[in-house]
């Protein structure tokens, strides 16, 4: 065991944990005041639900002994045999610490999806969805990429979870937004974000936590963590700038929400390539991400689905761009343990990245559809019309966010 790496990973794990409350604030500020607590809750409670699933069987399904490249078996259920010795995923940190680090990734992924059905889902439906989706979609896809499954096995690169977390949650969000339907008054009533200061604070916390997410994915306090750390910062900054530049050009004003959204789009896009690309490539990835995600969000109203907080536009599209960009900009000069991308003489990687991304999208869409269909039949996805008008805070939790 290496105490330096272990200390680094303990801190990185705590930083990734902080991203989920950060996400809660990021989302909470964007909804109307009557739904702020319910929205915060839908992210925050993933810290409870997913942590329990992770210990019970999730870690074993994601990282346990491989079954056909698709999922881990249940040998490590209840974290049986997962102790403080090093390995098998790292030679320098305790196995239990690796499990803790990965637990935080599992926590935030279903929380990301909650932005799609915000302001109208029943709390019970949210609970059921989080349990089923994490079990049937997240754990297998995580296994595909990092747990010895087929994507990691054929050379696909996903340093910190662009495919596992962002493409996966973005695809699920698209299905969820369509299946639960538009919020009452969509397209007629204005849906003003009720507290953009909260959203900006959330974006800042996410940004901070993302250093743990990306640099920590090196699993070691060294050169590769430094590469990922640096790429994370400049991609996010570049994307915040390019998002507001696009707004300025097309709509006349740069917005605070645009800066926050752009920063997150940049963080999403750099995630899969963060340990494989240099700073200049990271800036290009970020610049493209900010502009691309802005136009993706704009196209939502034309396509006619109500992805309330733009999970598809930011995480789906940003994640997809990031996966493909890794296939363009990855360089073995930066990380000898990675691969070269198209711009460094290896066109094959781009094809592998695209195939991995699309496989994940298709799997996530199909299974998410089935899960939501079952929940809709058994308990119903959506609150009643009256409850939606009154707001989820009061009707789902008997609380209000503000009493002024």
């Amino acid at each position: 065991m290496n105490t330096g790496d272990t200390a680094f990973m303990l801190v990185a794990t705590a930083m990734v944990m902080l991203m989920t409350p950060g996400l809660a604030l990021f989302y909470g500020g964007m909804v109307r005041a009557k739904n702020v607590l319910a929205t915060l809750m839908q992210s925050f409670l993933c810290l409870g639900i997913v942590s329990i699933l992770w210990v019970a069987f999730g870690y074993s399904m994601a990282f346990g002994p491989d079954v056909g490249g698709f999922v881990g078996d249940l040998t490590w259920a209840g974290l049986k045999g997962v102790g403080t010795e090093v390995g098998p995923y790292s030679d320098t940190i305790p196995h239990l610490l690796f499990a803790a680090f990965q637990m935080m990734f599992a926590v935030i992924t279903p929380a990301l999806i909650t932005g799609a059905f915000a302001e109208r889902i029943k709390f019970t439906a949210y609970l059921a969805f989080t349990v089923l989706w994490t079990t049937l979609v997240y754990f297998p896809v995580c296994h595909w990429v990092w747990g010895g499954g087929w994507i990691g096995g054929h050379g696909g690169l996903d340093f910190a979870g662009g495919t596992v977390i962002h493409i996966n949650s973005g695809a699920a969000a698209l299905v969820a937004a369509i299946m639960i339907g538009k919020r009452k008054g969509w397209g007629r009533e204005p849906f003003h974000p009720h507290n953009l200061g909260m959203t900006l604070l959330g974006a800042g916390i996410l940004w901070f936590g993302w250093f743990g997410f990306n640099a920590g994915s090196a699993l070691s306090a060294g050169k590769i963590a430094t590469v990922a750390f640096f790429a994370t910062q400049v991609a996010s900054g570049a994307a915040a700038l390019s998002w507001i530049a696009m707004e300025w050009l097309t709509q006349g004003k740069p917005t605070t929400l645009g800066a926050a959204s752009g920063a997150i789009a940049g963080l999403v896009a750099i995630t899969p390539g963060s340990g494989f690309v240099g700073p200049n490539s990271a800036i290009i990835i970020g610049l493209v991400a900010g502009a691309l995600c802005y136009f993706a969000v704009l196209s939502k109203s034309k396509l006619g689905y109500d992805d309330a907080l733009d999970v598809v536009g930011v995480h789906g599209v940003g994640g997809l761009w990031g996966a493909l960009a890794t296939g363009l900009f990855a360089s073995t000069a930066v990380n000898p343990g990675g691969a070269d991308g198209l711009f460094f003489g290896n066109p094959a990687l781009l094809g592998i990245q695209a195939m991995d991304a699309f496989s994940t999208i298709i799997y996530s869409i199909v299974v998410t559809f089935v899960i939501l269909k079952v929940i809709d039949v058994v308990i119903g996805l959506r609150v009643s019309r009256d409850e939606e008008i009154q707001g989820l805070d009061l009707t789902q939790h008997s609380e209000t966010g503000y009493s002024l």
């Binding site: 204005p190 849906f191 003003h192 707004e247 929400l257 969000v297 109203s301």
Partner: protein, 112 residues
Amino acid sequence: MKKIEAIIKPFKLDDVKEALNKIGIKGMTVSEVKGYGRQKGHKEIYRGAEYEVDFIPKTKIEIIIDAGQVDQVVETIREAANTDKIGDGKIFVLPIEEVVRVRTGEKGRDAI
């Protein structure tokens, strides 16, 4: 007795209050209100979605005065709240039947 209700631009409240203080008006009730008239609303943009906001924030002042002071008070408010731009507001004058001071039970002019 009369009641003066004035809808003014929020940033003009201090000017109006001081001007009224100078002519001896020692009390008022103020509320934050929203509304629209000839001044158009404004546009807000959130992630590309543009919303027209019709109701603009204004401040409403309510003052109860003796009928003889009406012209002076109205003119004072008008001068203090004026910016020469659309949206400066309106002043209403209403009759008041009775005023009662809660603490003492005084009525009418004595209670103002």
